[in-house]
Amino acid sequence: MSLLELQNVTQRFGGLVAVDDVSATIAQGGVTAVIGPNGAGKTTLFNAISGFRTPSAGRVVFGGVDITGMAPERIAAIGLVRTFQLVQLFGELTAMENVKVGCHLHTRGDLLAAILRSPATRRSERQVEDDARKLLDFVGLTDVADVAASSLPYGQQRLLEIARALAAQPKLLLLDEPAAGLNSGETARLSATIREIAARGTTVLLIEHDMKLVMSTADRVIVLDFGRKIAEGTPDEVRDNPAVIAAYLGMPEGAA
């Protein structure tokens, strides 16, 4: 069953066509990677899917619901949560608090609940604390739970952002270049984490430059070039695709 469907999605900025008539179907389960040279329109496509930009044309359907042009918070509420290419943590909050913010969607209570602080609210707070701790544990950040997010090294910030997104219990997790800025050890660890996320039932769609990560992590690969989809298939199929090789000509040896 398809979880996410892109139907002729196009995004123009003035005369520039950043995403050009892209259609694709992401099935429930597994890891799908979107790859392509710089400026191929990957992040623009992510913005169109997650509601941060309304596509100029085409439709985005998620879980049978047309989410084209819907506000990001409403899209998140029906189970599509993203991370950002440039990590966007709440820098002044601790790692723990960041993950707790991620629990927002599946908890209740606003100003009045905060002031009254009923037993039910307290119970829910304890639950949030537990959930957040488990997630920090899952990405290996338990030791830095009480450290301000902005003081964490970059690799840990990336992992924290993923933990925070998972706290929202998404059906589909969009990761925008999760390995950017990580060393090879951290990348290998990230790859294992992403596989584990998929194994626990969350579908993952990721943008990545690191081909080693893509080849070892993704079940399917979609290739964009100049805003168009030029290939789609398993990592092996895509690697041998002449159009993909042509698009990546000029890339360093071994990158594709």
């Binding site: 998140a76 966007q88 913010v101 908890t107 209570g109 606003d110 609210t121 830095v144």
Partner: protein, 328 residues
């Protein structure tokens, strides 16, 4: 919980230091209560400002927004209280209810379009809201008596019992401030407060996690307007008089100075800042003319040299500890 001793030890120091400003400010309050006289009056003013600044802190410190116009909500509620009690024989509590309702309705109407603005547009729009209310207070003489002001406003009272003594008022205001601070603390330590911090940290990231930035900004705006309205009404009953100058631009600058002295975004900040800033000019009574000058200069110096305020000096320890923990 934490394994690293580099966190736990300074953490204790931090707790101790964090309580210091509380203890000092509470000490002054207790002293004022027992000594009585002029200091009691000064502290009453300080406590009213604590309520106002606590509201600003929710909107600016927690939610990371900007408002130069919260004096408008204090003025709306204060004038409603003054007008209804003097001209229509209302008791203070129902008059305050009406004032709060008016202030919140106005906050709701102007809040929605205003909070869509960012940066200096937001700053200017809120400043304009404060100035409009001020101008109306000056010009709408049939209700506000213009610059003359409204006098003879009855003191705070509940169910026929009026609090007329200065000590009684101070005690009453202490209870209000304790409640306001409790509310501020509970907001901070809640799902609602976390959502506000998220909006302050990154609106995009907050929205990607399902937090409606516009809704939470509006909620914080309304909550802080309610604090402002409460402070505005308390003022007229404590002083017994109101004029447009009470809620002028200087109210905003004074409140910002308090917020920055105490520490923006902290729970103790409004209390500590308001007490310090209210006491300072009294210690230098002979320099009365220099008060506003001193506030302005102090604010500039604080912004440059201690942007996070006095009560956050302890958090420097936390930051140092956090860095050490990461390095080790």
């Amino acid at each position: 919980m934490t394994k690293s001793p580099t966190i736990t030890f300074p953490d204790m120091t931090r707790r101790g230091l964090g309580a210091l400003p509380w203890i000092a400010a509470a000490g002054v309050l207790a002293y004022a209560f027992f000594v009585g006289g002029y200091l009691t009056t000064v502290m009453s003013f300080a406590l009213i400002y604590v309520v106002f600044v606590t509201g600003l802190n929710v909107f600016m410190g927690y939610a990371g927004q900007v408002s130069f116009g919260h004096n408008a909500f204090a003025a709306l509620s204060g004038y409603t209280s003054a007008y209804l009690t003097t001209s229509h024989g209302f008791a203070p509590l129902p008059a305050f209810g009406a004032g709060l309702a008016l202030a919140l309705s106005c906050a709701l109407i102007v809040g929605y379009p205003t909070l869509r603005l960012k940066g200096h547009y937001l700053a200017m729009a809120t400043l304009a809201i404060g100035l409009i209310v001020y101008e109306v207070a000056v010009e709408w003489t049939s209700v506000t008596q213009g610059y003359m002001g409204i006098s003879g406003i009855p003191p705070i009272g509940i169910a026929g019992y009026e609090i007329t003594s200065e000590r009684g008022q101070l005690a009453f205001l202490t209870v209000i401030v304790a409640l306001a601070t409790l509310v501020s603390w509970r907001i901070r330590e809640s799902r609602f407060g976390r959502a506000l911090s998220a909006v302050a940290g990154s609106e995009d990231a907050a929205r990607a996690l399902g937090i409606s930035a516009s809704r939470y900004k509006l909620s914080a705006f309304l909550a802080s307007a309610a604090f402002a309205a409460l402070a505005g009404s308390l003022f007229v009953h404590v002083v017994g008089f109101v004029s447009p100058e009470v809620y002028g631009l200087h109210m905003v600058v004074l409140a910002f100075t308090m917020l920055y002295v105490g520490g923006i975004g902290t729970i103790a900040g409004p209390f500590v800042g308001a007490v310090i800033i209210s006491l300072l000019p009294e210690m230098f009574r002979q320099f009365k003319d220099y008060q506003d000058l001193a506030y302005g200069a102090a604010l500039i110096l604080l912004l440059i040299y201690a942007p996070r305020g006095l009560s956050t000096i302890s958090s420097l320890f936390r930051r140092a500890a956090a860095k050490k923990a990461v390095v080790s």
